[in-house]
Symmetry: D2
Subunit: 353 residues, 4 copies
């Protein structure tokens, strides 16, 4: 059988660290084209991993190659939806790094283009593939939680602002602070475990309190250069609550810096038969067996990097008709939630979706 022919558009850090090697490991696919506006990035990866592949600097040229089945988009955020729409129009399937898009209009364009083309759109949701997440999902799907009716999620840091003054803290480049950087991971995990109910309202507020704090920069700056002369116009803490159509509510809190004991990221869900707490890639269940209250926690090796399995799922979908772990409507809901949180913070009132 012929292999799935994939092109990777955007050959920077995330492509190198988390994408390209997973195609090498999977016999069912091959990368046939690399594309980056900085040509040597594309050449370097081509030479190292797939010497037969073509190299492009203009993704529109690449999309003209009719032998390409799918594109994997690893560009800066604001290009995700633009390239995806063009790819669907050229008849390709799309795998795309998160976040899905920078606003609701864009994410809807992306989903509609996929629907019209009848092609697969998957956005990376690597946290769903961590071992602890898979345990939690199976527990939920086996019916052991009963009905999940409320919960909390968050990623809180005491001091961990990535690159103060750099692109992370500049709204025009990042779209926002810890809500965009950290929130998207934990909200997605929570909503997915809840069975993807539809969000209907958001009430929240955001704060910027550590822009001038001298102790607030941190090792997290490795993800983006700091800039002493730069901008800090994003929040450093977001707190709020999401309502869903099934009556469930989810409290959220995300911070790059706040005066708490220590960094932690978590999803807590309350179900009628059991509850769960996912925390830093481990998971614990609070349940009943035979009328006896019982806690259960798997403690084996917990894989934390989900990109490999996420990319394998994309290939499974395209080559074997497997069920995609991510559906485009979930991406639309996620972007709606994020945008509504900022809107609610600005207006000081709950926002209906």
């Amino acid at each position: 059988m012929s292999k799935l022919r994939v092109a990777i558009i955007g050959n920077g850090g995330i492509c190198r660290a988390c994408h390209v090697e997973h195609y090498v490991e999977d016999d069912r696919a091959e990368v046939v084209a690399f594309c980056d506006i900085i040509e040597e990035r594309a050449v370097e990866l081509r030479d190292k991993y797939f010497p037969e592949a073509a190299v492009y600097t203009d993704y529109k040229e690449l999309l003209k190659d009719e032998s390409i089945d799918a594109v994997d988009i690893c560009t800066p955020n604001y290009l995700h939806s633009i390239i995806a729409v063009d790819a669907f129009r050229a008849g390709k399937h799309v795998l795309c790094e998160k976040p899905d898009a920078v606003d609701v209009t864009e994410v809807l364009k992306m989903k509609n283009a996929a629907d019209e083309a009848g092609k697969v759109l998957m956005v990376i949701r690597n946290n769903r593939f961590a071992t602890a997440s898979e345990y939690a999902k199976k527990f939920v799907e086996d019916g052991r939680m009963g009905e999940i009716y409320c919960g909390r999620c968050g990623w809180q840091r005491r001091r961990g602002i990535p690159g103060k003054g750099g692109w992370f803290t500049t709204k025009a480049q990042s779209g926002g602070g810890p809500l965009i950087d950290l929130g998207v991971h934990m909200i997605d995990l929570a909503v997915w475990l809840m069975g993807n109910p539809t969000p209907v309202a958001v009430s929240a507020n955001t704060y910027t309190k550590f822009a001038d704090n001298e102790t607030s920069d941190s090792e997290n700056s490795k993800f983006g250069d700091a800039n002493n002369q730069g901008t800090f116009d994003v929040e450093d803490l977001a707190m709020g609550m999401i309502r869903f159509d099934n009556g469930a509510v989810l409290q959220i809190e995300f911070s790059w810096a706040s005066n708490i004991k220590e960094e932690n990221r978590f999803v807590e869900l309350r179900g009628t038969k059991a509850g769960l707490k996912w925390a830093d890639n481990s998971v614990e269940f609070f349940t009943e067996e035979d009328g006896q209250l019982l806690d259960i926690a798997p403690r084996g090796k917990m894989e934390t990097d989900g990109h490999k399995k996420n990319i394998r799922n994309f290939i499974d979908v395209l080559t074997e008709g497997a069920e995609p772990v991510f559906k485009p409507s979930q991406g639309v809901d996620m972007i709606k939630i994020l945008c509504a949180i900022y809107e609610s913070a600005e207006k000081g009132i709950e926002v209906l979706l």
Copy 2:
């Protein structure tokens, strides 16, 4: 100097356990009258503690005694405001058990009557007088927290429904479930530590999931008899968020039963200079000193029962012109919050105050 002459109206459990003996211990006051519709209750306390005191079964008769300076109201909740209003009209000061009143109309009547009479109204806020709370309050007032801009509070139980089917779970008698029973304690503590900002909006939901759960009754039933044939028409979990006029938000969660690891009650506050966590009558601060992040936690003996100090504060106010720890406007805000939480849950939308 003559002593402060106090009458206690309502001589049931809370009067016996937490009120009458504190007047015995304080030389500046004496109880000169007891009143209960069950006369022997009044007689029993009179004989034991203040043999000279009068006994009444009708509080209106009692209020005619012009020598009485103040009344201490320990009746069922729905009578608090009714008796308080009559007492103010009769020219008495009032100390009253919580909750302040059963709805916003009533709590406003109570406050207005106090204002018109020019008399002191204090409602019991015993948690403010716990040692850990006093530490926290001093830390805040010394400016060591900086600006407090958001937080969380809660009292969560895995299984702890008081008297299933009894008055606790019957809305007509209790006014509500864990929000009324537990929430009032922790919300008051949080708001007081935040400096009593004015609440402006509430978004919340409530759930009843454990009415039929066989493992959900508990030792907490000692506070009210269970009744197998009784009613369960209150929530067992309330979750939501309160907005204040200064932009602060406070997440809340209260449950009598939910699938969590273990019971805990807490107030977490995030300030610009430090954060704090009050948990089960201990408190820990997360702060900076000389550019060094530092946690500090007092660990000495923590008094948890605040009634003694609360009653002493009432006497201090009346005999020495001390500052009252509680102000009537705080009671109005509290009742507004509680009512708005139920309204928001019912309507599925944020409620403006």
Copy 3:
């Protein structure tokens, strides 16, 4: 069937709080005699619980009553073995409060007298009957721990010296400090869960560092009056290690006062298939299932007072031939361990048993 006829010798605090009512609740036994050197104590209990019972002030007179089947000894510690030996010679079964005896000679006399008389000797081991302990024991006996080869136990307090200067801190009256007061509970629980291996050596040290510390007295003083002019000649911390004949070792630490975070009492055991941690009447297991590491913790209501079940076991043994949870040889081993710890501390070297 006629009831078991029991006499209680020593009618002070522990008899009132933890013994006499459990005979009222059990139809198979009755208390037919009370004995105390302070006659009114005996009379009071007789009048309240068993009005038909006889009252004695001299236990030797009581032992002459041939209709008595068993005696329950609740006297001060140094009398336990003396009265037990006399009771066996008079043909009675014996239930006795802990500690078994004050030294090895005495505990052996007690055991030998029981053996010669062919009567049952049980010493109270109430912690074995706590719910968490029963879970742990069942887990061990079901083979789920595999071989238990080492562990730790302790009861540590930050500040909790009972009655400084009173009998607790006076060696002639108490026999020792936290090792005697707290250690006997946790060591027994650990050794019993380990399957009662025979102790063969002890290495330990003891310290007295808080006799003059002003913050070191505590609410624990309710168990014995403090005395400012009194004696403090016992340890406030004991630390060491016990070796058993099967190669297992058990680390121990007991303190009334030491600079630790907070009070905790615990038994940790390491087995080849699983480990367990018993802490403050809860228990958690660390195990494997199907090659997956897993933690399991029962979280239901945990009964902590074991006296009721302990006394019921004594009655079961005498009326139904049940297996006694306690065997006299276990008491001998316990007293050997405690004495060896003090000897090792004094000599600064390991002591062989």
Copy 4:
């Protein structure tokens, strides 16, 4: 001023990862010679870091160069003392990787040779230079602990055997299991914080229970290759107690695999004025201030790699007469302790030093 002329003998992993670059960073020293039996290792480091340096394959040749002031030994363990003795005889100062030597005879030879030559001997103790350790040491030296009279230390893993069947689990190559691998770190940290009292006795036992456990191998295998056909003749858990000349005792527990909740490494010390707990490179103090029990914990960035500061201290000593953090007698005591633990385990009895 001329620079300190250093030669590094043994140019494998630890030299590359933790030694050579720290000489580049420090202006006061330079590496003038590399030596390894595999010449290309030496050449590679020379070319990369100190192109002027000489390269040797025989350390005895290197020692003939009289211009060399000091050698830094990074060879396999059994060569440490042999090379050090030769270096002292050649008039060099010595910095040496841990463990100091493989037995007591060897460590004494090493110390004696240093004494006779009048040269400096420092063995790496990188944990002492971690930020949390420095906090703890300063707290102790400021007298804030009072007298330290007992404690515990350990490094426990649930599953973490390095390279099963490889050199780590082969006694002839490693000298032992987790006691040698992990114990040396935590025992040194504990004893150093205690003020280096002299050990006088050791009682311990060791166990091998996970040699055949399928889940027991782990990511820790990266430190040494596993070998399915290899040997496993070392312990996987060591537990015991060390006595010191000042009456202090220290409980120890080290495991590569055991059924505990999760990996943890720690030093707990009890002092008369305060206690401390060092855990995973953080530290917390339990103390009193003004009669108030108080916990204090620095929470800033905690450097965990101490090699840089350790090597700087060596240079400080040689160029500026600074106080060495490590003294040779401490190394002798450490090796005595480790050897005595194995001896005590073998004999089943306490061993006097």
